[in-house]
């Protein structure tokens, strides 16, 4: 009913290849953007900004970066957190060495360092595939975290070994550091994430994205039809690491405010990989749905007993939370192994032909 596509005729190739050939999709996205850009900032509390909105956006972006590499180009990576760390440390060095630099420029630029490191660790992908490549990227994970710990210059020789975000101004408003207000940080994150998403959607639909998908589906066939595998794989590593690096810089500068090396250890890599897998590999939307499930849901579940007035101790809530989220992950993967994005696609198809089943 709501999703009826009858009467929407395409009269040109341009209309047929538009980002949203179905009008309702565009309207739905408009509503989501309206919520994200107008309604949430006006209504959200400090708690909602700091524990739901900002982290979900940042985790989505990191998962998006990983999804480009794993979901689109088929190169399994376990080093996401380390590449996030490269972005964060690069951004820290940039703003402490050049305090006059615009923070958003610094964040966007720090992704370049991460891209460089990503390409270097992507070189083994030219020879090895699948699980073996995952082990090679695991090397990046161990090496880089070790480097963050041992190389004092990276954290300006702080006694604690942690990096602390200074107060950064942009056009007279604090955007990072303790003085920055949550709503400003939210807008910066949202702007960067929106921009990145737009770029990624178009990249994956374009020439580069098609060569990635060809590489993923069968690399020998791709090579035979004239795709340069080296170029395809290394650009996937570069673009993916760039997005992940920007997410890492946002992670520390727009949200955490401080970071120690072990923050970027394997658990974070796995968390992002889970977001990408549960959301749906090879999709853009899935990253957002996955982040909502993995990052947002536990926070909401934590506040539930108190809102209902149930006298459960905080530790018990935590245990229950782990069990509920764990079983939900299993549940969603059983009903739809291709992730939440696929689940949404099925719902949408059903809605289009509703009320007739065929």
């Amino acid at each position: 009913m709501l999703y009826r596509t009858a009467g929407q005729f395409k009269t040109s190739y341009q209309a047929d290849q538009a980002l949203f050939p179905v009008r309702q999709d565009a309207v739905l996205l408009g509503v989501v953007l309206l919520f994200a850009w107008v309604i949430f900032p006006l209504t959200a509390s400090e708690f909602a900004f700091q524990t739901l909105l900002i982290p979900i956006l940042i985790y989505s972006l990191a998962a998006l970066g990983l999804n480009l590499l794993t979901g689109y180009a088929g190169q399994l990576s376990l080093g996401t957190a380390a590449f996030m760390g490269v972005g964060a440390y690069a951004c820290y060095k940039l703003v402490t060495l050049m305090p006059w630099l615009n923070p958003v420029v610094a964040i966007l630029f720090s992704g370049a360092f991460s891209a460089g490191v990503g390409v270097a660790f992507g070189i083994p992908s030219l020879r090895i595939k699948g699980f073996y490549l995952a082990i090679a990227t695991l090397a990046a994970q161990f090496f880089l975290v070790w480097l963050f710990e041992k190389w004092g210059w990276l954290y300006n020789y702080n006694a604690s070994g942690a990096i602390q975000v200074p107060n950064l101004e942009m056009f007279g408003v604090y955007v990072a550091g303790p003085q920055a207000s949550s709503v400003v940080q939210y807008f910066v994150v949202l702007a960067v994430v929106t921009l990145m998403t737009l770029v990624c959607i178009n990249l994956t639909r374009g020439n580069l994205g098609r060569s990635w998908k060809a590489t993923r589906d069968m690399d020998i066939a791709a090579e035979l039809i004239g795709i340069n595998l080296m170029r395809s794989k290394l650009t996937a590593f570069a673009v993916s690491s760039y997005v992940v690096g920007v997410a890492g810089a946002l992670f520390v500068f727009m949200w955490r405010g401080a970071a120690e090396p072990n923050l970027f250890d394997i658990p974070l890599s796995f968390r992002i990989l889970f977001i990408a897998i549960i959301g749906g590999l090879g999709s853009i939307l899935g990253n957002y749905l996955g982040a909502i499930l993995i990052v947002g849901l536990p926070v909401l579940l934590n506040t539930l007993p108190e809102a209902l007035g149930l006298p459960i101790s905080s530790a018990t809530v935590e245990h229950l939370n782990i069990m509920i989220v764990g079983s939900l992950i299993v549940f969603f993967l059983i009903i739809e192994p291709h992730g939440l994005a696929r689940l949404w696609a099925l719902i949408r198809e059903k809605l289009i032909i509703w009320p007739f089943p065929h």
């Binding site: 700091q50 524990t51 604690s160 070994g161 200074p166 003085q179 401080a258 245990h319």
Partner: protein, 430 residues
């Protein structure tokens, strides 16, 4: 259906009562960790803290006639969860108890904006002791640098340190690196060789590489800054390599009874510096037993009660309760605000007499704070494992305040400069 209706009614009633209970009272949330990798050490501390407040509520009807609303927010020692808890509780909290150096570092810069005091007794960032710079942070009764200084003083009593070799086995984490600046300056001044040996978070349970290094280097002493699984790992490894236990000393978080129970007799002689000591005869223990434990309101197990960590939990809550009490007296109101509590924590006077009055005889050294001194630098005891429990092995040892305060001032200044604009308490003339 009837059941559902009944349940719903009960839930609604619960919500109503819950909200009325929250409406009044001193809301002092605790960012507890009863889950996760550090739960074993966290649980007795959390129990001690909760039991002291429950005792005050049952015995005196709260503090100054207002009930204490002591709520735990579970972090599992994860910084991410800690920040979530901080955001959740900061609306009505009068204090934040972050309970991990990572969370403290995260929350510290926000305190000037949110204006809620952080109470981190014996942990966190050592320069927090400089109250002029860190207006909202308190690490009373003493900081890690004080702890390191007490250990060095104790070792100096055993003999001249010059020419000796001291290994510093520490967790490779902000917490473990905390005393390094102080130890480095002291190594130069006293002429001993400092050998820092980091233990990565992943190597906590398997420290064979570190102990191989210790065996090769043959240090005269091992100072340990460990936490959680690292303590048990180091102690069993020390026993295995036959390192003389009497030459091994730990920080107060490395003096957990359960870690030593594993080795029992063989751990005899192991020492740990401490600013709290279990005194089963102290009046407060009797009160806790009567009002909380016998009333079935405690989660603590019987063998926990005599442990160092449970009594440390009690002391921590006692410091907070005293801060609230001082603020109530000064501002002449029962329902105090976070900034009132800050004044209270800045004007603590835990004298010997006051400690007796509170029933904490012998459980914590006397100390006092001021607007410029947020740590109190109380001094501490060296505790020694006698094979079954910790006993006092020294009188109260005072830290070397001169060297520490010099370092504190310079590090605090550095921090404020790196985080400019950082408001400094100009009114404090001390």
């Amino acid at each position: 259906m009837k059941h559902v209706a009944k349940l719903a009614a009960a839930a609604a009633l619960g919500a109503l009562m819950g909200s009325t209970a929250l409406a009044e009272g001193l809301y002092t949330p605790n960012l507890a960790y009863r889950t996760g990798p550090f739960a074993a050490t966290g649980i007795p501390l959390m129990n001690g803290q909760a039991d002291y407040m429950a005792m005050l509520n049952a015995r005196d009807g709260g503090i100054g006639g207002v009930m204490v609303d002591f709520e735990e927010c579970e972090t599992g020692y994860s910084t991410e969860k800690g920040v979530e808890c901080y955001e959740k509780t900061k609306g009505k909290a009068i204090v934040t108890q972050p309970w991990s150096t990572g969370i403290t570092l995260q929350v510290l810069p926000k305190t000037n904006v949110d204006e809620i005091p952080i109470l981190a007794p014996g942990y966190g960032f050592s320069p927090m002791a400089d109250g002029k710079v860190f207006q909202w942070a308190f690490n009373a009764p003493l900081s890690y640098w004080d702890g390191a200084s007490i250990i060095l003083k104790f070792l100096q009593d055993q003999g001249d340190l010059s020419g000796k070799k001291v290994a510093f086995l520490h967790l490779d984490h902000p917490f473990g690196k905390e005393p390094l600046p102080y130890l480095e300056t002291k190594a130069e001044a006293l002429g001993f060789e400092l050998l820092p040996i980091p233990v990565g978070l992943k190597e906590m349970q398997n420290q064979s590489a570190q102990w191989l290094q210790i065996r090769r280097e043959r240090p005269d002493y091992v100072i340990m800054w460990g936490w959680g699984a690292m303590n048990a790992g180091a102690i069993t490894e020390a026993v295995k390599t036959k390192f003389p236990m009497e030459n091994m000393l730990g920080v107060w978080w490395s003096g957990h009874d359960a870690d030593l129970d594993i080795v029992g007799e063989e751990g005899k002689g192991y020492k740990s510096v401490s600013w709290s000591f279990p005194n089963p005869d102290a009046p407060v223990m009797a009160d806790v037993k009567q009002h909380v434990i016998d009333a079935g309101k405690s989660q603590a197990s019987a063998d926990e009660l005599d442990g160092v960590f449970y009594s440390r939990g009690l002391v921590i809550s006692a410091i907070l309760a005293e801060g609230i009490h001082v603020a109530q007296e000064h501002f002449d109101k029962a329902e105090i605000s976070p900034s009132d509590l800050r004044w209270g924590l800045e004007n603590l006077d835990m004298s010997e007499a006051r400690l007796d009055e509170l029933g904490l005889t012998g459980m914590v050294p006397p100390f006092s704070t001021s607007c410029s001194n947020h740590a109190g630098h109380s001094g501490g005891w060296i505790l020694e494992w006698d094979g079954a429990k910790f006993v006092k092995a020294s009188d109260l040892i005072m830290p070397d305040s001169e060297a520490i305060s010099e370092l504190e001032l310079s590090r605090a200044k550095e921090y404020a400069e790196a985080n400019a604009p950082w408001p400094v308490n100009e009114d404090c003339k001390m």
